[in-house]
Symmetry: C2
Subunit: 351 residues, 2 copies
């Protein structure tokens, strides 16, 4: 790992070694050095040996920016978080995004590509002006997502995580329908009979899928459905208010399905304030098994979406797309897995 102490290597180079320095030392031209490095054209073994020796001696590291100018590639992909800032800033979305980010960064670096994080801080145009990237991962865009609009208008290779709102390019399935069915059926199995579905107001595919599946399953079970829409930007307080209003209107309520975890936290607060016990009086379940679900009291039943695998698949697909690989089917991630927790589990004594 460290150099065997050759004499005086701590002389500061006045400037970083370039491909020309390597070429001179190896007695070849710059083009040959480039070819030796990239493997794009054959280089004689003896020559390659001299080049590698020169590289080692000079500690040469290619200038990525210069390479990018010539090749037009940045060797970088961007992860956009497109959620409304109010939600994105909180620890909930942070967890979701960051689980994806960590896995994507690993996968990307394995293929010699760096991952840059683009927070939802400035407008999408602002972001383009400051970072350069060959493609983008976009997490669960809403229907009018400005990032999605920008990316597709600029024809930037993009892979969406989750179902895209418009028939965009490529996406990785997040199994919205299966996730919804898993949760609705679990509510039914735990004995809930009068449980509304609480959704955000933004136009998202996951909301639509939840609503569709919920209505289907309730109809099949012969139960009366009830869908509550809450303004996500209102955060937990809005959800708490909404559930209290609902309790007043429907005192027999015995469960709530709240896919958005930030809203679920609000619902829990609202239930506590109304003196309802979870799970004895009301069962609660949410979608993303993140820090919010796990640290509620009691912890919330949720779903393992296999985000690490989803993110890996998305990253691989994006890199293939960028490299112009023949378009292949994007593999399906594993099916979602229910993680039952105390918020829906009947107490042992009840059995």
């Amino acid at each position: 790992m460290d150099e065997t102490g050759n004499p005086g290597p701590e002389i500061r180079l006045p400037r970083r070694a370039t491909v020309k320095d390597v070429a001179r030392l190896a007695g070849v031209s710059a083009g040959t050095v480039s070819n030796a490095l990239s493997g794009k054209r054959r280089v004689d073994d003896a020559t390659r040996g001299r080049i590698e020796a020169a590289i080692a001696e000079l500690g040469y590291i290619p200038n990525i920016a210069a390479r990018g100018v010539r090749t037009g590639r940045a060797n970088t992909i961007a992860l956009f978080s497109s959620m409304p800032t109010a939600v994105a800033a909180g620890p909930s979305k942070l967890g979701f995004m960051m689980e994806i980010a960590a896995s994507a960064a690993m996968t990307a670096l394995n293929r010699n590509v760096a991952l840059v994080l683009v927070p939802p801080i400035a407008g999408p145009a602002e972001a383009l002006r400051n970072v350069s990237f060959d493609g983008a991962l976009l997490v669960e865009p809403a229907e009018d997502d400005p990032f999605l609009a920008l990316l597709s208008s600029r024809a930037i290779p993009t892979v969406v995580i989750g179902e895209p709102p418009v028939a965009a390019g490529r996406h990785v399935e997040l199994h919205y329908g299966a996730t919804a069915r898993l949760l609705v059926r679990h509510m039914l199995e735990t004995g809930a009979r009068a449980f509304p579905l609480m959704l955000g107001q933004s136009r998202r595919q996951s909301h639509a899928a939840f609503e569709r599946v919920y209505l289907e399953e309730m109809a099949a079970a012969g139960l009366a459905p009830r869908v509550i829409r809450v303004d996500e930007t209102g955060g937990e307080a809005a959800a708490a208010g909404a559930i209290r209003a609902e309790l007043a209107a429907a005192p027999g309520l015995d469960g709530v399905l709240v896919p958005v975890d930030a809203l679920a936290t609000g619902v829990m607060a609202g239930l506590r304030a109304a003196g309802r016990r979870v799970p004895q009086d009301v069962r609660v379940a949410t979608r993303y098994d993140g820090i919010r679900a796990r640290t509620e009291t009691p912890p919330l039943t949720a779903v393992d979406l296999h985000l690490d695998r989803v993110s890996e698949i998305a990253t691989e697909a994006l890199l293939d797309l960028i490299e112009g690989a023949p378009p292949a089917e994007i593999p399906l991630p594993p099916l979602p897995l229910l993680v039952p927790r105390a918020s829906t589990l009947a107490t042992p004594a009840e059995g």
Copy 2:
């Protein structure tokens, strides 16, 4: 946000507009466009107006790589995670790193700089070959950290988060001593009298600080100290084994202080296996208030390190350093805050 429908804007440009295109359209030279954009030299107001009109019309976006070649700046900073892979891969370190990443990404983009994530996947040299950046954030490096060695040998501007092992450049204080004191005193206050300190074996400043403060405080309290070192790469299993051995040797043990949260999880498992109740028989506390601490049963007393603020300070300092701002004192982040949880709280009935 969207263009007012001027006719036929959906024509695909054969190539991205360049500064020359803008210059031609505005009737000036490329240099003038550059000056107008950067503000480095004065440009007549009328001229600037024409340039801005041209930019808008062409949808011009500067090529960051090309700019980088000329200026030598990448407008990017890197976040290195240097932890041993075994630990880094788990969700625990992930949380720690990702809390920092999210906050750093926001701060950086506010100053028109992108943040790239460098996972500990390849060697540090490998990383340098694939991403270009102007400076680096390094999180809690160990004494022989290869990233730290590389960064300082290459004279890359670096800000360390936490106390650096060698007198490196600049760092943001993580208040190791204060954190340790907070925890040791809390253990004492909750009535623990025979509680060992369990540390990893890697040479880290935070370990050293914990050991020093622990020994001090135990001496002051007239109690017998006991420090256990566990190989971190052994993960939770190693910690579980270590605590069981300790219980056998010292049955009177009534607490454990385990700064590394992955080890704390192992200790909890070990205690459960040995039939000891937490907190009634044994009190347990850890350092980082992440997902591990919060989701243990019972949840672990931990410390709020204000990572978001720490990360913000570090990022600002790094950017100042890169931009050659006059070296100013790096502000201190807020003092750590104890988050007492059930793992050390006496049951109400006990009072």
